[in-house]
């Protein structure tokens, strides 16, 4: 039995395997040292980078919900300058591809970060976060209006030559329309989904747990929404789709791959089991061997 080919092709480049770790849940790649093996990862998607440093939202930033959690980090990050001076070094040492999650309040923000990334060899590609529901100017408008997204993607395309992944929000009426807009403007791949808008109320304090009211819901609870979104998006576009949302086992990952994803990301599940990506990859391999698949790309198209 030949080992299955686990590589994933995006815009002429390849990821070594389909199991990446999601933006915002894996820092800049070194925080889980000793707890997970970055050499087994398909990619590290970094925490969002904005041009200026951001302190983030006031606490509490986290709340637990049934089989899920709400976060409102607020794109806390050291900013582009500190990223270049401090974080790039970490990415260089990573034994797997590093994809930088790019965010901003206005188009110029995205362009500024993307331009800077063009110069950084250790960055495999970028992921445009146009779907963060947790800041007032977190790019959410970019992710909900196809025309706005199209012009953003188009502008970034002009300044960035390596793979551009556009990360889609599930909080829209027609995710296929948004996906087509990103594709037509030159995106190389789409990742979906970002978090759902959610709220938890502290009934004794009579206030939302998260000071700003709503936050982003992630975890197993949202998996069916993510799988449905990936299915719709993969039918709407021709470029690869990277699935995420609530993946915590190889079976969950297989749901996404069969629904149309070419790769996946693990987010919230890392908090519980930091070494889960390696075990998910192992499970995918076993599935492929047992079911007779030799390439990841052969896993979709059944429905």
């Amino acid at each position: 039995m030949v080992d299955p080919d686990l590589t994933v092709a995006i815009a002429g480049k390849t990821l070594p395997n389909p199991v990446g770790v999601a933006s915002g849940t894996f820092g800049f790649g070194e925080e889980y040292e000793g707890l997970t093996d970055t050499a087994s990862l398909g990619a590290v998607y970094t925490k969002a980078v904005t041009p200026e440093p951001r302190a983030g939202n006031p606490p509490p930033r986290l709340a637990e919900t049934p089989a899920g959690m709400i976060n409102a980090i607020g794109l806390a990050n050291p900013g582009l300058a500190a990223f270049l001076s401090e974080k790039v070094r970490i990415l260089e040492r990573l034994p797997c591809p590093a994809i930088v999650n790019v965010a901003g309040a206005v188009m110029a923000d995205y362009l500024k970060v993307a331009e800077a990334m063009e110069e950084v060899d250790s960055v495999w590609g970028i992921e445009l976060n146009v779907s963060c529901p947790n800041v007032d100017h977190g790019g959410m408008a970019f992710g909900t209006d196809p025309k706005v997204l199209e012009s953003l993607t188009y502008a970034v395309r002009k300044v960035y030559s390596k793979p551009i992944i556009v990360k889609l929000s599930p909080n829209v009426t027609d995710i296929g329309e948004i996906a087509r807009a990103a594709e037509s403007a030159g995106a190389d791949a789409l990742s979906c989904i970002n978090t759902l808008t959610g709220m938890k109320v502290d009934v004794l304090r009579r206030q939302p747990v998260i000071p700003r009211g709503t936050g982003g819901l992630s975890g197993p609870a949202i998996r069916p929404v993510g799988v449905a979104a990936v299915w719709k998006v993969s039918k709407a576009v021709g470029i690869p789709v990277i699935g995420l949302g609530g993946i915590s086992s190889a079976e969950d990952a297989m749901e996404y791959l069969l629904a149309g994803a070419s790769a996946i990301q693990v987010g919230t599940a890392l908090f519980g089991e930091p070494d889960i990506p390696g075990r998910i990859l192992g499970g995918i391999k076993i599935y492929m061997v047992q079911e007779g698949f030799s390439r990841i790309a052969d896993l979709h198209g059944f429905f």
Binding site: G24, T25, F26, G27, E31, Y32, E33, G34, L35, T36, D37, T38, K47, A55, G56, N57, P58, P59, P60, R61, L62, A63, E64, P66, A67, G68, M69, N71, I73, A76, N77, G219, P220, S248, T268, A269, L270, F271, G272, E273, P274, D275
Partner: protein, 268 residues
């Protein structure tokens, strides 16, 4: 897997747990015998570990607890039964496995020379304070421990080292000194005190103010909701003073920059 990092994940077994006050338990765990079941470095007082809730993934977030003791064979902690994860803990049989990640976070710093450690605890803060008192005793240092509780039923029944002078204060006077931990500190010469405190936020704020007023150092152990516990998620923000720009908020991460902070760094 890189093992430059001090923390790791392992399984421990419950050796035994006992009720130490109404709703409070002390749990002892032992590492499994293989090296994989043991931490890389011995945890120190102030540090914490996280456990995977028994009802994972209905409860998706790991739960942090401070060490109340630790040696090469295992560790202990003191917990209050509050919600799903701690309720499950209380119902686990001896011998049950517990999935831990540790040791995490910063430790209580050593007291400045010639100062006398004054340890102030309330509620779930008693675990790390007990551990600190034990470490101080091991190092041959004396300490003053001031414990606050609402009433006698909530006063933890624990064995403190002999080198620690323990004062117990209850809000309703049902045990020890009638009043708060601050009442417990009155009639105390604090000119060489070094304060260490862990417990409810208002209590720590009061100790901080007392330390500021008396111009003594003070370290506090901060609690905030944690998802990753290792500095990756930015979830555990603690508001701190930004020296450069006091107009905008600045935050530190309770899980890696804390949980122990110099109280003067924080916004109270």
């Amino acid at each position: 897997m890189n093992s430059g990092s001090p923390h790791k994940r392992g399984k421990a077994r419950i050796l035994d747990q006992r009720i130490i006050a109404e709703g409070y338990r002390e749990m002892k765990l032992s590492y499994s015998s293989d090296s994989n079941g043991r931490p890389r470095v011995r945890p120190s007082s102030g540090q914490f570990f996280t456990i995977l809730p028994h009802h994972y993934p209905l409860s998706i977030m790991r739960r942090p607890f401070a060490y109340s003791d630790s040696d090469e064979n295992g560790f202990s902690f003191i917990y209050e039964i509050r919600g799903p994860a701690t309720r499950d803990l209380a119902n686990l049989d001896d011998g049950s496995p517990v999935d831990w990640i540790g040791p995490l976070g910063s430790t209580f710093p050593e007291a400045p020379e010639n100062s006398r450690p004054v340890l102030v605890a309330g509620g779930i803060g008693v675990g790390p304070i007990l551990y600190l008192a034990r470490e101080l005793a091991e190092a041959g240092a004396e300490s003053l421990v001031v414990l606050g509780a609402r009433n006698v039923g909530l006063v933890p029944r624990l064995e403190w080292p002999e080198t620690a002078e323990v004062r117990i204060c209850t809000d309703d006077g049902s045990h020890g000194i009638h009043g708060t931990v601050l009442d417990g500190l009155s009639n105390t010469n604090v000119t060489n005190a070094a304060f260490y405190t862990c417990g409810p936020h208002p209590m720590m704020a009061a100790v901080h103010r007392f330390a500021v007023d008396t111009d003594r150092p003070c370290w506090v152990s901060m609690e905030e909701m944690m998802a990753c516990g290792v500095g990756a998620c930015q979830g555990c923000a603690i508001p701190v003073k930004d020296e450069d720009d006091l107009s905008r908020p600045a935050y530190k991460q309770a899980c890696v920059e804390g949980p122990i902070f110099d109280s003067r760094e924080l916004i109270w």
